[in-house]
Point group: C2
Chain length 366, copies 2
C-alpha cells in the first residue's frame, strides 16, 4: 500500500487527533478531507462492527447548507425525488442529477426548516453546482459549507450507547428522522442513519471545538460495550449493497442504472433539471447487481474489472469487490448488461490475478 | 506517514503503471485522481529536478472542456481576467471566483477555438460550477471532462528532450503558448508551461491509450539526460512562490489577498459574476507573503500555523512550509495581516514543534 503525503489541502477534522490516537492505519481522501479506512485491519474492524459499537469520524460527509426563500426550489432542481412531502425532522436519500439525468452525487438531504436544508454529500463538490444554479437562475438562496462534521455511531450496541449519553428518547429516534440534543449548551441534531447495515446514528457536530469532548464522552460511556474507533467498512458495505459514488456510481450513471428508481418521482418532481432526460432513461440497458465471485480472495480493485459471458462477450464490469469472511465468498457490486442480469447467470470476471467465476445474485447479502 | 487505501474512486491515470514501475513512494489525491508526491525522496527529487529533466504524471490536472457558441461567455462569468484578447494558441492563468469574489479555483485556460476552451483545473470540481451556470443562465455551451491527461516535462534539460522527440520548432514554443504535435497519427497539443520554475512543457495527452507509448518514448530519448519520473515538488514550488489551491488559497480568499491583482481586469471583465464584490476587495487587509522561518527544519504542515508579532498578537498564518536544502532555511508561504506584511518584519510562528522565528520577505527565492 502506498503512503499518503500530508498536506493542508487534505483537510484534518475536529476528531483527527482522536482518530490518530486510536491508531488509524490507512486513510482515504473524501471531499478534500481525511477519512480513516481502518484501524486494526479491515477484517478485524468488520467483525467488531457487527457485534459491538463503533464511533466513526465521517466529517468528510461535508454539509452544504442551503438557506433562503428559494432553498427548496434550488434543491428540487437537482433531484428527481419529490421533496414536497418532507417532514420537518426528516432525512431523504436523494439521487442528484444533471440536465442529462446523469448522477452528480447521492447525498442525504436534511430538512432543518422550510427555508433551510443540509445536504450531506458524497465525494463531489456539490457546493459548486448549487452556487452555479443559484447564480444562473437568480434564486434567493445561498449555499455554503457550515462548520458541521458528522460523527457516526454504528453497530448493534449503538442504541445502548446513545441511550446512555443522550437518553432513551433520543435512542428511540426513527429511521431517517432526527432529534435535537444539547451538548455543553450547544444544540446539535442526531439522526438514525449511517453508512452501515448494523444500525446506528449520525451526530452532526455543530462547532469543531466540541469534537474532542463529544468523542471522549462517547468513549468514556461505552467502555464496557467495547466501543472502538472505526469507519465505513469495505466488506460490510458491499455485503449490504451500499453504493459508493465514484466507485459504483459516476457521472456516467443514471439513477435507473443504479437501481434507484424508487427515488425518482417523475410524476411529481417536474422541476428537476434532468426530468425530461430521466423520462427517456427509465428502461435501462444495464443495471447494478449483487455479484458473488468464486475462488480465491480477489485483490484490491483499483479500476473496473470486465465481466464476460461464457463466449467471451462483454457483459459489464465489477466496481466494488472484496473477500467476505462471514459469507466465505467474494462479495461484489457490478454493472451488468440486460442480456446477463438475470439472477443465477454465470459470468467470468477478469481481475489482475486472472479469470474467476462470477454469478449474478438476486439480492445483497445482508 | 499513513497509508493510502486503494479504491476506484481515487482514479488511476493513463500513466499509473509506469509511475508505479518508476517507484512512486507516496501519493496525494487531486481531483479524485492519484498524483505521485515523490519517488526517491522529496529532497533527492528536488535536486534532480533542478539539474536534469523529469516527466510528471499530472493527469490529475483534469480538463473541463467548454464548447459551444456561448463558451467564452460562460468562462468569462467565472473570472475577473479579461479573456477577450486571448490569442488562438494561448494559455491564461485565471483566478476563478464566485459572486462574492472568493476563489473557487486557479486553473490554466487554454483557447482551442473561438467556441472551445479547456480549463486545466486545480483541486475542485469546476465542472459542477460550469454545469450549474450553463443550466441557470440557459447558455448554449456544454461542459464535460474529456479523455485528456497532462504530462509535464520539467527541468533545465526539458527543451533538449522535447527537441529530440518533437523537433526544434516545438521546443521553441513561447511561454504559455501551445503548438500541435502528432503522435501515432493522433494530434495533441503541447504548451510551454508547468508547475515548476525550472522551465518545461505540458503535453495534453488526448486518448488514454497513447499514455504508455508516449511515456516510453520520452524515457528512451532521455536516457543520457538522466530523465526520471517526478512530480510537483514541495520544496521547489515554495521557493518559486507557486500557490496551491486548497493550501495557500481557499474559498475564503480573494484574488487580491492572494496577490493576483494583475489577473483582475476589473475595467474590462465586467461580466464576471464577482465583479462588484471584487471592486470592494481591491484593498485587502491581509495578503500572501514569502516568509522564511529560522531554526531547525519544520515538521510537515497539516493545518495552518499561527503567526504572531513580538507582543503575541495574531499576525496571520503559514499555509505552506518546508526545509530548503539549497537556501539552508525553512521556506514558507503565509497570509499576513496588513500591519505586519512589510518586508523585514520579524514574527513568531507556532509549529507543532514549538515557536520559531519568522521573517516576512520581499520576494520568493527563485
Amino acid at each position: 500500500m502506498p503512503y499518503l503525503t500530508p498536506a493542508i489541502r487534505l483537510r484534518r477534522t475536529p476528531f483527527s487527533r482522536r482518530v490518530e490516537e486510536a491508531g488509524a492505519t490507512a486513510y482515504t481522501v473524501y471531499n478534500h478531507m481525511l477519512l480513516a479506512s481502518f484501524f486494526r485491519s479491515v477484517e478485524e474492524d468488520y467483525a467488531h462492527l457487527k457485534k459491538a459499537v463503533q464511533v466513526w469520524d465521517v466529517s468528510c460527509e461535508r454539509q452544504v447548507e442551503i438557506i433562503g426563500p428559494d432553498a427548496l426550489r434550488l434543491l428540487q432542481l437537482t433531484t428527481p425525488r419529490d421533496l414536497s412531502g418532507m417532514a420537518d425532522d426528516q432525512c431523504y436519500y436523494i439521487p442528484m442529477v444533471d440536465e442529462e439525468g446523469h448522477m452528480l452525487n447521492d447525498p442525504i438531504a436534511i430538512k432543518l426548516a422550510n427555508d433551510r436544508y443540509w445536504v450531506s454529500i458524497a465525494d463531489t463538490d456539490m457546493l459548486y453546482y448549487f452556487k452555479g444554479l443559484a447564480n444562473g437562475f437568480g434564486l434567493n438562496a445561498k449555499a455554503f459549507e457550515p462548520d458541521v462534521s458528522p460523527l457516526a455511531i454504528q453497530g448493534p450496541k449503538a442504541d445502548t450507547l446513545i441511550a446512555r449519553v443522550f437518553g432513551e428518547k433520543i435512542a428511540n429516534t426513527k429511521f431517517f428522522r432526527y432529534k435535537t440534543i444539547e451538548f455543553q449548551g450547544k444544540k446539535m441534531i442526531i439522526a438514525r442513519s449511517g453508512w452501515s447495515h448494523q444500525g446506528g446514528f449520525e451526530l452532526y457536530l455543530a462547532g469543531s471545538e466540541y469534537g474532542e469532548p463529544i468523542w471522549d464522552m462517547l468513549f468514556d460511556a461505552g467502555k464496557d460495550l467495547d466501543v472502538r474507533a472505526g469507519g465505513p467498512n469495505l466488506i460490510e458495505r458491499i455485503e449490504a449493497g451500499l453504493l459508493s459514488y465514484g466507485n459504483d456510481i459516476t457521472i456516467d450513471t443514471t439513477p435507473f442504472e443504479a437501481g434507484l428508481s424508487k427515488y425518482c418521482n417523475l410524476d411529481k418532481a417536474t422541476d428537476c433539471l434532468g426530468h425530461s432526460a430521466l423520462l427517456a432513461h427509465q428502461d435501462p440497458n444495464r443495471q447494478i447487481r449483487s455479484i458473488s465471485i468464486a475462488g480465491a480472495p480477489v485483490p484490491a480493485i483499483t479500476s473496473y474489472w470486465t465481466l464476460k459471458d461464457q463466449d467471451g462477450n462483454r457483459a459489464g464490469h465489477i466496481s466494488s469487490a472484496t473477500w467476505s469472511p462471514d459469507f466465505e465468498t467474494n462479495v461484489a457490486i457490478g454493472m451488468v448488461d440486460r442480456a446477463h442480469w438475470t439472477p443465477g447467470t454465470d459470468l467470468i470476471v477478469e481481475t489482475e490475478n486472472g479469470e474467476q467465476s462470477a454469478t449474478v445474485r438476486d439480492r445483497f447479502w445482508i
